[in-house]
Assembly symmetry: C3
Homo-oligomer: 346 residues x 3
């Protein structure tokens, strides 16, 4: 699938500008150190600018005005983003539609868009609607009444339970579960009565869900993940949560029921968030933190219980030296006792 492109073509594709030989042809990407003359490389971090002098690359993606060291340059506002776009251009084959393959199993009243691919072992329940160009990989299970938008990819053995709604351009990694029953029980003396979870899950457009991640359906209405938010692997989203737009929820995070997360929030790996909280826009929570209460917007937090990140760093520095602090206090006690004795004797 190797194709070659001129730097002029790439600059047009990226909305950038060539400095150097526009007609130079390249066929892929490589790191600064390893790139040959048929490859494009990129400089995202100005710290490594001097490596540009030594690269053998046919061209370097750089921010406007960077020193070119005599190399061909494609100037772009965001070289890392341009690199990602060229990765897709050179290495990702567009998926050719396969249609409904014979070993798939399609229910009654199913509406399929154009150019879908439904692989063997896929089971689609009754009254499901699938948009154009959806790709449903082997073993994925779509329960009855689910709606899925255009250009969405669902990987192998993922499960989407009844009536949930998935937007356009979503990607769901293998084994993810969308719409499992929320963990809700009414105490009934010593035992527990399961509260029917009759709501759904809604994933808006451009949401991506990691492998074996679980999103529980709401008790009554909808657990909601808004446009552009990305969830990593093994994340737990409990029933009735609402996650805002363009959030990054890193692996093994758990969010308890009915919590609302703002836009552009980052929860680092293994963070736990209690239920019924409100987390403001642009909040960043450090890895493994435990969040027991709501967090105001536009700040970073860490620790269990989570406190402002800077305070946490200071507290942790003391924690590591607590035995010394205790010794210091014990010494002070003795010195004070000595002083007291001395004064009493005078």
């Amino acid at each position: 699938m190797q194709q070659t492109k001129t730097l002029k073509e790439l600059a047009e594709y990226l909305g950038g500008t060539v400095r150097g030989d526009e007609a130079c042809r390249v066929n892929g990407l490589a790191p600064l150190e390893a790139a040959g003359s048929d490859k494009v490389t990129f400089l995202a971090n100005p710290k490594y600018a001097s490596k540009v002098a030594d690269t053998g690359a046919g061209a370097v993606l750089m921010a406007p005005g960077s020193e070119s060291y005599g190399r061909n340059v494609i100037e772009v506002a965001n070289p890392y983003l341009a690199f990602a776009k060229l990765l897709r251009l050179f290495y990702v084959q567009p998926h050719s539609p396969r249609g409904v393959m014979p070993e798939a199993c399609i229910g009654i009243g199913v509406t399929l868009g154009e150019d879908v691919s439904i692989y063997p072992g896929v089971i689609i329940g009754d009254n499901v609607t699938l948009g154009d160009r959806c790709v449903i990989h082997p073993g994925a299970i779509i329960y009855a009444g689910v709606t899925i938008g255009d250009d969405t990819t669902i990987h192998a053995n993922a499960v989407i339970r009844e009536r949930c709604r998935v937007g356009n351009r979503c990607v769901i990694q293998p084994g993810a579960v969308i719409g499992s029953d929320g963990f809700g029980y009414a105490p009934d003396g010593n035992t527990y009565y399961p509260i029917p979870q009759i709501g759904i899950v809604v994933l808006e457009d451009d949401v991506e869900i990691g492998a074996n991640t679980c999103i529980d359906r709401a008790a009554l209405e909808a657990t909601l993940i808004r446009r552009g938010t990305k969830l990593d692997n093994l994340v737990q989203i409990a029933h009735n949560c609402q996650i805002g737009e363009d959030c990054m929820i890193v692996s093994q995070v758990g969010i308890s029921g009915s919590t609302r997360i703002g836009n552009h929030v980052t929860l680092a790996g293994q963070v736990g968030v209690a239920g019924h909280l409100s987390i403001g826009d642009n909040v960043i929570v450090g890895a493994q933190s435990g969040v027991p209460g709501s967090l105001p917007a536009n700040a970073g937090y860490s620790g269990t219980p989570a406190i402002p990140h800077k305070n946490w760093l200071k507290s942790m520095a003391v924690v590591a030296n607590l035995p010394d602090l205790r010794k210091t206090v014990a010494t002070l006690e003795k010195r004070i006792a000595g002083l007291e004795a001395l004064l009493q004797s005078k």
Copy 2:
């Protein structure tokens, strides 16, 4: 599927008493604020009692003796439980048995109860026994020799490995794994020899297992989850554990091998419990806690390592202010040095 019921019928169903118009007809449930005259609502928290005055609901589920503000009331001992039961009555359609659907695959010597539903893509190994009215959703895999009781539901792509036993009225969410090999290896010089895990997993009646939760089979005998216990999503239960009755094990909890948990224990989200411990009845462990040793019954614990919850709260308050404490100690050191110098000079 909308049906209407009189308040008299509902009171009989719930074992409660009507105050007001027994003949009033309703067709569903709604929150206090939103309920119209054809809906039932409920008051679980006496804090919101005054809202009853303003509700438009046809009836309110309330504890005996509550102020009715002139509304129709169904008096029940536990209004929240009654609400859950009516949710089921009004909104959950009884599952109509589908039989063994043609795209399912059934092994040799399989015993099926009456009115089962076995969906496409289900694979059932040899010598499996399934009780009456079981529902096995698409893509669920049941290995050879498994026994499953009556009225149990197994969701899509769940896996139950060889010889495990599942009780009556259990619910297993999508992607859960019952009976994976325990993590047991004998050191053999630099490398590890896998110890065969020849035991099983036993889930007693009314156990519910969350999505993508894993329960390892025992090395020799049985990993055991007793009657009525509920596990949330992404929980890890290691080999040889025994979990008591009516426990609540919240999402992302991990319990190491051979630990025994009593009855009515709650482990909040992301708790970790070490191996070979004993956790007493009615213990509550706070979210993200790490439990390195056995815990006496009838108490709450938090922190890593877990200590009594009240002590942990006090310690955490100090941790957040440790930098101040360190400064205070440094100031005291200076003041003492000053006093010592003063006294020496006298």
Copy 3:
């Protein structure tokens, strides 16, 4: 499947020596307390040596030179390892090859070794290569271009994505996902552009992967798990990680992108490791620890942030008593103020 063996046969199988009746016949294993004369038992922990006197076992696996108390003994260097090997001998039936069962679905250009077993509901993509004696359980999905070595077992509903490579004698538990897309996005103003993850995952020989564990494919090259390493359930390995040989990665551990782990490393349950770090050989990290920086070899660490294990133990002892320490400091403050006032008045 019960078979009997003489002690002589077992000693030869284990590379050990019989003291006592070589012709004694046994048919299985049992604990010291429960073993009858047709069973072998073992003494791994010298603490329990005196129990040997009371066992009814036909023979005891013991280290050379141990007191036999008149029992038949099979002397072996590592009794626990010998016990594991006899468990396999007596209780694990060799898998009889089933071939490709009719309800499996095999792509184009697939190469199958000898004596494979491919169960119903397995979907194998185009151009997959499978070694001899592989067992692929129901519902496992192997994407196109995957290579799998000899004697590897893949359990139900596991997923191996395109082009990944799995070695010989690997075991992959149910629901595990190998080769999901790494969590890589290039910021694009307010939103995120997904960076194509065009690399793969490589599992070397004798690697074992737990249930519902996720290993992300590399962005460009390979996420690598070296020979003999064992991963427990619900572990997360992010893209571009390299894990050394013979590591033990316990349940619910998460390792962030591009981190390199040495050989013989143990990460206990729920540990989190940040990205782009280097963890030295023979490191042990305690349960629930958070590792924010690289760790030198041959040492134990605990805590969040992780510090040397001994220091952590000391700090935690103080944390539990922090309220007392704060009180002590408050008392000292008063005593100093008293002394200062006294001196001023003199």
